[in-house]
Every structure is written in C-alpha cells, then in structure tokens.
C-alpha cells in the first residue's frame, strides 16, 4: 500500500510512515466496562497523540446502558484522566479525538442490536471516510463471545474472506478463550464457520509487554546465547509469576478460573514457548507462531496416574501482605466458603525434543505471595570441574543464572563467578544487572497500545493462534480434570504473604533443585 504511494508521491520518501494504518471503524462491545475505561480508550488516545491513528477513524462503543454519544465521550474523558495520568491530556487534542467517539446502547444477546450497529456504521463510514473497514473488539464477559460473533455474521457485518484477501473485518477476542479444551474448540468451530483464522485476533496482553517481546530479540539478535541454549548447557528453567494481590473484587470470576486458567494456560505457556522455541525462519507472524506451537506439541502430556509428581496446587489462607492483615481466599467477597479453586499452581514440565530432552522446566504462579515478580530464570550447568581452592568444599557449588525479569522492574541479569580480591583464590558470585528503565528513559508504550496498533495494521504476530490455544488447553486439560475429581483436603494450604505450599518445594526438590528466593 505504502510502496505504491511512495512511487507516485515523492514527498512521502524518508518519512517514517512504515506503520501505516488504513482508515477504519473500531467497534467495542462492552464499552461500558472496566477494560474499555482502563486500557482500551487510553491506548487509543495514546496512539492518536502519536499520530498513529488514521485520519479516517471511528470508535463506536456499545453495551446495554443507555447513553448518548456526548455522555460516552464525557465518561471516556473522565476515565482517561483517572486511569492514564502519564498521558499528556490536552483539551483540544481530546476534543478532536472525541469527535471520532460514538456510542449506541444495544443488547448483544439480541439480534436487533446488530441492525443498529450496522446502520450506525454505514452512516459513520460515509461521514468519516472509513470505507467499510471494521474491527470488532469483544470486551464483554466470555459468555457473550459466541452470541456476538454469530450476531455479527447474521447481520452481514462479519463475512468470511479468502485466505489470500486482506483480513477485513477483524474480530479481537479478550481472554479467557474458552473455559476448557471442549469449550475452546467449540468456540473456535463457531468462529471459523463465519470467519477465517487470519481475521481473528486473540489478545494475550502479556505478549504486548516490552520485555516479553525482548525475549526474542535477546535470544536471536545476540550471537552468544543461542549456542548455549540447549540441554548441553542448561540445567533447568524456572518461570515464576508471583502476585501479592488477591482477587480484587473479581472473586466470582476467579473462583471459576483459578490459577491454571487465569495465568498458566495463556500467559505463562506463551512465555515458555518464547523461551524454548527454535529460531523462526523469518520475523513474520506465521513463522514465529509456527515455532511456538511446536514447543507445546513437544510437552510430555500429563498422565492421571503420575500427575501428582508433576503438579502441585495451593490456596491461600489469611495472612499478612507488607504488614497488612488480609483474608484467606474463601473469605473473599463472592467466593464460596468451601471453594476448591487453586490460587497457586506449580508444574514441572518435560519437553520431548532434541534441544530440551532431560531439562526440567518449572512453572509457578500464585496470588497473595510474598512479593510481586514475574521472571524467567535459566540455570546453566555447573562448571564440570571444581578447580579453585578458595571455593569452600562444604558450600554447594553454584551455577550461572540468566534472569529475564518481566515485572515489576523489567531487566536482564546474569549471575557469574569472580575472584574475591585477596591472597587466596576465593570465588564470589555476583550479578551483572541490566535494568530497562535506566537504559531507555523514554515512556514505554503499554501492552494494549502495542497490541491494538498491531491489530489496526493487520499484524497478528503477537496474538494467539487457534492451534496454540487448543494445544495449551490440551496440555492442562488432564490436570484440570484431575483436580476437579480430587477435591483438595488441605485447602487453604499456604498463608497469604508466603511463597506457596510446602508441596511446591518438594516438587522442585525431587530433581535436587530449589525455587529461587526472590
């Protein structure tokens, strides 16, 4: 598109317009909801301020609450000021942005609503020159995903295009994508009846985070790590996602979801795939996603009879977080007194492929843990021969550890041995630390900003493809079933503010390892 323009319009040459977005209308279902206010509209406004939105642009919001366009604009303005204080809010720019904002009250479970959206879009398309290009963002409860997709198809707003044709219209689907393997397959089947895969953008906001994207750059733009990135040099890998927060008013949702569905099936398996995958043949969407799915396909399936050797669950009881007393999970609002939901899960994964055979991968994720931190720690094998006298023989020999920290401070660190100055050869282990925030001072775009822009451009690289979603459900399905069938007898089994249940230490201890003290 741009190439054509460069040829005929010499003024465009040398201008940084490569991330070009065609004029379009962006429809948000669930526009009265939390996500729209906190993330979606602030991300859109940030893109607008950077001149990244097309000039022909419409944002049409819809949910059941009756509101005029003007009331919607005011609501969004208030949310923006409240939830995005780092954006330079300016009245004139906002007014121009707000002139593209519209709202129609519709009930997504009823067919009439889609006719309203259709006629409104027709009117707005001609008013703003958006040329019938539409993106539908499903930011509602998951139970509405299917009715919305079907409603859009029935009204003709969504049609299946050929695989070779540009992907218009597009549909963006929030997590969770399905509740288990069967529901995710069923949802996909219905979606694929009316749309082709390249029209579907399953959002996983983890993939929009700078440091997550940096895993690829770190691995494949540096020549020195990849030769070591295999079973010959890596002893084991630990992926940790620890949160101090509890369920934060989303008790009802979390009670149904639990740690496996909320974090591991989507975010952490995506992280895992980025860390373990083979180099893609190119930096395009399909090549990267092809490699990621291969990782999931190599995971050794969990078997019911041995599952307890590979997985541990936990639920927090009352405790203290940074000095403040907090209730246990079962005392949280909208949570049943006997809820069996795991708020903590630790897994040991084995990868059956040439590169990773025999390297255990440990994943843990939990709520109300002692500290908030998300990281991937790659533990290298110890030096094969203990050479230095100064290394006390009674002290456990250490190893190099490369840590990619994702939250809260984004950075990379490498632990290595060095000589302690002095007359003897005393070995000391130090950390070489690189913090993103200190090296790049400018504002980092939010994950939603990056992902929405990619969707506007039509680049699905950072979105989950159907086969990945299915394979990830497939992997955890036996565990979901097993845990559903065996009600936990010892819940709650860890205190809020601790590092999870003791069984998690035993899990990693089975191979002679220990969780990192974070």
């Amino acid at each position: 598109m741009i190439e054509e323009k460069v040829l005929e319009n010499p003024l465009l040459e040398g201008l940084a317009l490569e991330r070009h977005v065609d004029s379009l209308s962006f429809v948000i279902f669930g526009a009265h909801g939390d996500l729209t206010k906190r993330k979606l509209v602030p991300a859109m406004y940030a893109l607008f301020l950077q001149g990244l939105l097309p000039r022909g642009f419409v944002l049409l919001g819809t949910s059941r609450t009756p509101m005029t366009d003007e009331a919607f604009r005011i609501l969004m303005r208030e949310s923006l000021i409240k939830f995005a204080p780092d954006l330079p809010f300016e009245e004139d720019s906002w007014t121009r942005f707000a002139s593209s904002l519209y709202y129609r009250a519709t009930d997504s479970s009823k067919p009439e609503g889609y006719e309203v959206i259709k006629s409104t879009l027709a009117e707005l398309d001609s008013k703003h020159g958006t040329k019938g290009r539409h993106i539908f963002y499903l930011s509602t409860s998951p139970s509405l995903y299917l009715p919305i997709v079907q409603g859009l198809a029935a009204s003709g707003l969504v049609t299946k295009v050929k695989a070779t044709e540009p992907a218009w219209p597009r549909v963006v689907i929030e997590k969770p994508f399905g509740h288990d393997l069967a529901s995710s397959i069923a949802l996909d089947e219905h979606i694929h009846e009316v749309m082709r895969e390249h029209q579907v953008y399953r959002i996983d906001h983890y993939l929009g985070k700078e440091t997550v994207q940096n895993i690829m750059v770190f691995r494949f733009a540096n020549g020195i790590f990849e030769p070591l990135w295999n079973r010959n040099h890596i002893d084991h890998i630990q992926i940790t996602n620890a949160e101090t927060i509890g369920v934060e008013g989303r008790g009802a949702y979390y009670q149904e979801a639990g740690a496996l569905r909320d974090m591991i099936q989507n975010h952490l398996l995506q992280l895992l795939a980025l860390v373990l995958m083979e180099p893609p043949i190119a930096m395009d969407a399909e090549a990267t996603r092809d490699e990621k799915i291969k990782v999931l396909r190599c995971l050794k399936p969990l078997k019911p009879n041995t599952i307890d050797r590979y997985a541990v669950r936990g639920q927090y009881g009352a405790g203290f977080i940074v000095g403040a007393a907090v209730p246990g999970f079962r005392e949280e609002e909208s949570v049943a007194k006997d809820a069996p939901t795991p708020t903590f899960a630790a897994l040991k994964l084995e990868v059956d492929n040439w590169r990773w055979a025999g390297v255990p991968i440990y994943i843990r994720s939990g709520k109300r843990l002692a500290k908030s931190v998300t990281e991937v720690a790659v533990h290298f094998k110890k030096a094969p021969h203990r050479l230095f006298d100064g290394e006390q023989s009674d002290v456990e020999q250490q190893e190099n550890v490369l840590v990619m920290q994702i939250q809260p401070e984004e950075g990379i660190s490498l632990k290595f041995a060095t000589k302690q100055p002095g007359p003897t050869t005393m070995v000391r282990w130090l950390n070489m630390d690189f913090k993103y925030g200190t090296a790049f001072g400018a504002r980092t775009p939010t994950a939603y900003e990056r992902l929405i822009l990619d969707c506007l451009i039509g680049d699905p690289s950072l979105f989950a493809r159907t086969d990945f979603v299915e394979a990830s459900w497939q992997y955890i399905e036996p565990l979901l079933e097993h845990w559903d069938n065996q009600k936990p007898a010892d819940f709650p089994n860890y205190k809020a503010g601790s590092w999870g249940p003791k069984a998690a230490d035993d899990l990693i201890g089975s191979t002679g390892h220990a969780w990192r003290k974070l």
Binding site: G14, L15, G51, R55, P88, D92, G129, K435, G441
Partner: protein
C-alpha cells in the same frame, strides 16, 4: 567553573556528596578515569550506610555524548547535557573552548543523578566530564586528544556541535572517533531582520553538514523541527480527507512559508521549502531578499526543473508568532485551489478546497504552548537518537538551501 582542589586521597563523604549533587570537582587531566572510578567506588561502598546522606545509586550509560562549545555558552550547554541524561543515560563530556593568553587544559568531573520514576530509594546517575582547552588560538586536535580517549567504546557516540565558529576542520579530529554529529542550523541571532552575518553562518553550518555527511551520520535539529510539517504536506497528497492527486505536484506554482522568530525561524522555513523543491527535482535559479508587507523581509526564489516546471518560493517573516515555521501555502497552475497548513491548538490543520484534516503534533511541549512553537531541545534529541541513520532527503534539502543562499549572496554583491 569553580576551581576546587585537585582530589588526592580517598574522597571524603563531603566530596562524594558534592559529586553526586552535580558540583564540579577538578581533577588531573591525566587521571580523569581514575578519579571517576574512585568517586563511584566510594559512593557505592558507603551508600546504604545509615549515617551517609545519599541513597544507593545505579550508574547507567547507554551512549556517549560529547558537547563542543565556547566558554561563554558553557553554562547553557551543561544544563542541556544534564537534561539529556535524565532520558538518555550517557557519559556526558563537555568540551569547552576558551580564549586565554596561555595554553592549558583542565578537567572537572561531576554526576547527574535523578530518582527513578516511582522510587525514592534509588537514584540513577550519569557522569559528566568537563574538559576545557584554553589558548590564544584553538587547536582542535589538542582538545580532541583529551576527549576522544574518554569515549566508552562499543556504545553509540554523538558529537553535539554547539559552538558558533565551527568548521569541518575543527570537528574532524572528533568525528574520527564519534559516529554521529548532532548540529543545529537554526540561527541563534535574535535580531529583527536577518543580517548578512547570520546568513553566512547558516550557509557555513549547512556546508559543514554537507561535507561531513559522507562519513558521519549528521542530524540537524532544524530539520527535525519541520518533520511534522513535511508529514502534513506529504499526506495532503494521499487519499483521505484532504486528498490532492499526487500528479498535481507537477503543477505546483508557488509556495509560501511563514516563519516566526525573525532570523531564528529562517533556517527551518528554508529547509522546508528546499525539501519540497528537491523532492520535485527543482533547482534554484535566482533568489533575492526584498521588503515585504510592513517592511518585513521576504525571500523569494525561483526554482525550475527539466520538465519545465517553475516554482516561486517565498519565505515570509511573520510579525509575531512562535519561533519556527508558522504556516505553509501552496498554489497550483492547474486550478484555483490552495493547500494551507497552519497551527491549530496542538495540531497542524491542513485545508484544501473546503476539506480539512488535522495532524497531531507529536511533541508534548507544543501542547503546553497551545499548539505553537517547536519541540523542546530534549524532545528533539529524543527524535535524533531514534532516527540515527544517514538521511539523504535532508542532505539534498541542505545542499539546495545552501545553493539558494549563495544565489542571494551573489545577487546582493
């Protein structure tokens, strides 16, 4: 620069605190690195002790920034360097040229520290080294021999030429070690009218950019200030809202660029005009200054190309208005319509034939000033670091601007 005693023994607490607070400490020129290491070392060891007055520091360095200036501008540029370190952790080296009867070289060190966003327990610090060369006549290789060994290898390195009397010869000894030249062809002279001296200075600055661009990446801040204008004009010829057919570029008859700040906005206006003419393969044929409306100076030039297109360029000083380009107008030989680009509250407003569109100005300083003015220095530096590749489009515009300036000189002689 305050003269403090040369550091000898282990730095005491007061000296470390002074160093971390941005005060200059004079050091032996031959031992700059050593003294810095000692200061950092002591700051690191003592930090966190209950009885010391500073917080733990993180030293960060992602690039080298050498700033070359004369003694009278030292304060101003030291302030700019300090601002740059907030967003771009770097080793900041201020190379100062001073006039003195006796030749000597002196050095000072200090640190620029600031708290990391949302954290009051840690500071991020960058080091600044000031090297002053004094003498009756400036010997560039002399100063460069002190400065270039201080550049940290393997990191990008930038020379910012803040001096008024720079020549390619002055900068070459530096540029043999540094990969990027940051310069500012904006005329600093705040006179009411454009003096011949100011034009000559502009021409020599552009000549430096042209000469050095072969081996070095040259980034001109004046050029960066007009990037939004270029984009707005270029996108008027695409297919949304204001959508003029690109084929009509062959029929452009006149362009008028209005600029504010008198001579301080001239370079930007000239580069905008020559960007357009070079994109249309037009070369300047003649140029003259004349009295325009209200006795305001006006530059007109005629440019033409082999295709027979002839275009009259007018650069008009606006009576008031913020420094830099304030407005742009383009007329065509094949129609009566006019393309206009103006400021409008934080955006550029593009109008043609009854339709209009807005382009948000990407710099935040414009928002504070109600949509007028140029990006702040630090924002321009951000852009510069982002676009650190050779820019042939700029080079063509700079060459053409210089040719045009030479035509005026000839006309006025």
């Amino acid at each position: 620069m305050s003269s403090m005693p040369v550091l000898k023994n282990a730095p005491d607490e007061g000296r470390i605190l002074s160093f971390l607070s941005g005060n200059l400490a004079q050091v032996d020129v031959a031992k700059i690195e050593k003294e810095l290491t000692r200061l950092w070392d002591s700051a690191g060891r003592a930090a966190g002790d209950e009885d010391v007055a500073w917080k733990p520091v993180i030293r960060a360095c992602a690039l080298n920034m050498v700033l070359l200036c004369e003694e009278e501008n030292e304060r101003k540029f030291a302030g700019l360097l300090s601002e740059i370190t907030v967003r771009h952790p770097c080793r900041a080296i201020l190379a100062v040229i001073a006039q003195a009867p006796v030749e000597k070289v002196e050095a000072w060190v200090t640190a620029h520290c600031h708290f990391l966003p949302g954290r009051l327990d840690k500071q991020m610090c960058c080091e600044q080294i000031s090297v002053k060369w004094s003498g009756a006549a400036f010997v560039s290789t002399g100063l460069a021999s002190v400065v270039t060994p201080l550049v940290i290898p393997e990191l990008p390195s930038w020379l910012f030429a803040g001096s008024k009397q720079l020549t390619s010869a002055v900068m070459e000894p530096f540029l043999s070690y540094l990969d990027h030249l940051l310069m500012d062809s904006r005329i600093q002279d705040a006179g009411d009218t454009i003096s011949e001296g100011a034009l000559a200075a502009l021409s020599s600055n552009l000549q430096i950019a042209i000469d050095l661009a072969e081996h070095t990446v040259v980034v001109d801040l004046a050029w960066l200030t007009i990037s939004a204008w270029r984009k707005a004009i270029a996108l008027a010829f695409d297919n949304t809202d204001v959508s003029i057919l690109p084929t009509r570029l062959k029929a452009v008859k006149t362009i008028t660029v209005q600029y504010g700040g008198q001579s301080q906005g001239f370079s930007q206006a000239l580069l905008l005009a020559t960007w357009l003419t070079t994109r249309l393969q037009l070369t300047p044929q003649n140029a003259e200054f004349k009295e325009g409306l209200d006795n305001r100076a006006e530059l007109t030039a005629v440019c033409s190309n082999k295709g027979g297109q002839s275009l009259t360029v007018t650069l008009q000083a606006a009576e008031d208005g913020a420094i830099g380009v304030n407005g742009f107008e383009m007329a065509f030989s094949d129609g009566d319509d006019v393309l206009n680009v103006d400021f409008s509250c934080g955006a550029l407003k593009v109008t043609n034939n009854g339709s209009e569109e807005f382009m948000e100005l990407p710099w935040s300083s414009s928002r504070d000033k109600n949509g007028e003015g140029e990006p702040a220095f630090t924002e321009l530096v951000d852009f510069a670091f982002e676009h650190s590749a050779k820019d042939p489009i700029y080079l063509a515009a700079a060459k053409s601007a210089n040719d045009l300036l030479k035509l005026i000189n000839r006309a006025s002689k």
